[in-house]
């Protein structure tokens, strides 16, 4: 068994567009779920809005990549408002039902052959990254060291991703230490109490839904930036994985979701390399290589359960400030 390669692969996942995309999605969900107490079960939908908003803007409307990204973020604003206007006045679980259903409807709309011209149906969209790569200012060459080695084409989306992530973290950090963030956390605890103090609870929840949604959509953009947009990615399991990440790092913290994403993907890569290697080495005679690949997904589920029960505040969260009150 090649331990060096397994560790190398796992370490390389610390800096990848996937990790950055999930970190952004988790950060946005942190604003929804951790700060405002909004049960957004449609993370996959927001990410799909970002990804497809970006890809369709380039392929169908011929926008430059940066304008396409802005359009995708605006689409997320619209999506948040469509979901929020009718549900934010109702009890919290209605938002959960509507967001999960809307995300699924969106996925089915992306998948149907009826709109294949625009969405690419099941094959998704691809071949739109030319303009993005053309804008790459990084000179040709190999960069990095150790497990983190990239050529200019791999590095460019990572740079953009890290810049977006840094901006988003800064934004969330600034909001959460301000009186605005205080109102939001008050709403998470008890919205009637905050209402009785003269705050427009609906407006705050809507603002939080939009901000978080835009950050999640940015994750969707980073995920598709250099490659392709495929409807098979934006399933409800994606939402649940992001929940796992958020709870792992600490839902009510700023850096928790980012840390959670890194840990989640390092573990995923580690297990996805380790398990088949163990099977190959004959350590797990009762498993096939396919089954070995399944184990890490089972562990995600078990891990999520254990996290919620025994460490709901997450790694970075304050033990006293558990995010669950109701």
């Amino acid at each position: 068994m090649d331990w060096g390669q397994i560790f190398n692969q796992s370490a390389s996942s610390i800096i990848s567009t996937t990790t950055i995309a999930y970190a952004l999605a988790a950060l946005g969900l942190g604003v929804h779920f951790g700060q405002a107490g909004l049960l957004n079960m449609g993370v996959a939908g927001f990410m799909a809005v970002g990804a497809y908003g970006y890809a369709i803007s380039i392929l169908t409307f011929g926008f430059p990549w940066w304008l396409a990204a802005i359009v995708a973020l605006l689409a997320a604003v619209v999506f948040a408002m469509i979901l929020g206007v009718p549900t934010l006045r109702l009890r919290g679980d209605y938002l959960a039902i509507v967001t999960i259903a809307a995300a699924e409807v969106l996925r089915l709309l992306l998948l149907t052959v009826a709109f294949e011209e625009v969405t690419g149906s099941a094959d998704g969209l691809y071949g739109y990254s030319g303009d993005f790569q053309a804008a790459n200012p990084i000179p040709d060459g190999e960069y990095g060291f150790g497990p983190w080695q990239f050529n200019q084409n791999e590095l460019w989306p990572i740079v953009i991703g890290i810049v977006l992530l840094a901006l988003a973290v800064l934004l969330v950090w600034a909001m959460m230490r301000s009186p605005w963030g205080r109102v939001l956390r008050g709403i998470r605890e008890d919205e009637d109490a905050v209402r009785a103090l003269g705050k427009n609870v609906f407006a705050y929840k809507m603002q939080a839904l939009i901000i978080g949604g835009v950050i999640i959509a940015a994750g969707g953009i980073v995920y598709t930036l250099g490659s392709n947009a495929s409807p098979g990615v934006y399933v409800t399991s994606l939402t649940f994985f992001v929940y796992t990440i958020v709870l792992l790092g600490g839902a009510a913290t700023v850096f928790g979701p980012v840390l959670g994403a890194v840990i989640f993907w390092v573990l995923q890569f580690f297990l996805s390399n380790l398990m088949p290697a163990l099977v190959d080495a004959g350590v797990l005679p009762f498993m096939t290589a396919n089954q070995a690949g399944m184990v890490r997904f089972i562990l995600v589920g078990v891990g999520l359960m254990l996290l919620v029960i025994f460490m709901p505040q997450g790694i970075l969260g304050n033990k006293k400030e558990m995010t669950f009150v109701k």
């Binding site: 039902i97 409807v105 709309l109 691809y126 071949g127 098979g232």
Partner: protein
Amino acid sequence: MRPTTRSGVSAVWRIATMLLLALGLATLLGGGPAVAAEGDPFKIAGNVQNEGEAIEGVSITVDGPGGPQTVETGPRGQWQVSVPESAEYTVVLDVDTLPEGITLDDPEDDTPETKEVTPNVPFAPKAVNFFIGEGDRESSAFATQLVQRLVQGINFGLMLGLASVGLSLVFGTTGISNFAHGEMVTFGAVIALWLGGTAFIGASLWIALPLAVLLSGLLGLAMDAVIWRPLRHRSVGVVQLMIVSIGLSLAIRYIFQYFIGGGTEQLPGSTPQKIDIIGPIRMTKVDIVSMVIAIIVIVAFALWLTYSRLGKATRAISDNPGLASASGIDVDFVVRVVWILASALAGLAGVLYAYYRPGIKWDMGTQVLLLMFAAVTLGGLGTAFGALIGALIIGIIVETSSLFIPADLRFASALAILIIILLVRPQGILGRRERIG
């Protein structure tokens, strides 16, 4: 402004397809003739011609194991789809895509636009021919189809109802929005496969199916004893419980995939022949048995809930847990019974769904989880009878909507209607207004 044309990237396309299959998604693949799921061994094909003249651009939908696929006929009127297995597929020609003045015409068949085929030889295309002629389109074709779809919808709705009442009862008595309920549905089907499948134990269906339902009940008992009861006693919040159920759902789902893989397996006993019932209504034997079982169980369940001591206690807890426990009801015991019942009903629904789809797959329950939530929400959160009505509505919407919109959007239509109804009447059909926050 597309840098690359679609046709030049078949390699990318192939990778995407393989990824999709690997992920085990409902493969609603389509695109052009003969491009669906190239890895699938069985093919269904045909030519659409009117008196020797090819008709291009006619939409044909093939539905069955592996999910619905829609193709359009090519320049010579030809079409072909690949399907994963030798099972019955429904081939529907969309008459609206025929040129003006051309219609389907078959004196032998009331529904000339729908054909049933079972491809049996791998890689040898199974031919399906439609009888095409000129003339007025018969309006009865639509009515016939509508009636058939309605019956199918009721069948699906009853099955969904079986699964949803349990979800609703659990929500009512414990406050858990149980995302693992879909896995409880799959569990029944998987156990039935394990006991009755010819590749496995191969027991008689008379033993395998009841035993599968029984074991499903045991799963409910085990889940309550190991997870939910301890959490209840720690007074864990409902949001936390919901996320625990999400984790449980993920874990069980992948455990299924661990054991049965990503493919579709069939239960024995399915017959493709349809029997004439009344007028245009034609059903397979399995459909009829399934509906009868569902109706009997639902009626029995309703009687239990309304008249038995335990059923009344269950409703009392749904109404007001604190009061119920103060008035001497053993909440723990009732909740345990609810979990057993919910799980057994879900398991039964899973067995019926395995025949309805047809086929058993590791994520089959997850596919209908949202429809079950929709049924429960439509009926009014936590009211068992509301969930039944909601399930029937959802079932009928899902089946009939494919008459008006592409078949691959039928689940979307049900969810879209859920969202709309929530906006108009958030408490659901039978729910109380006070439930709104």
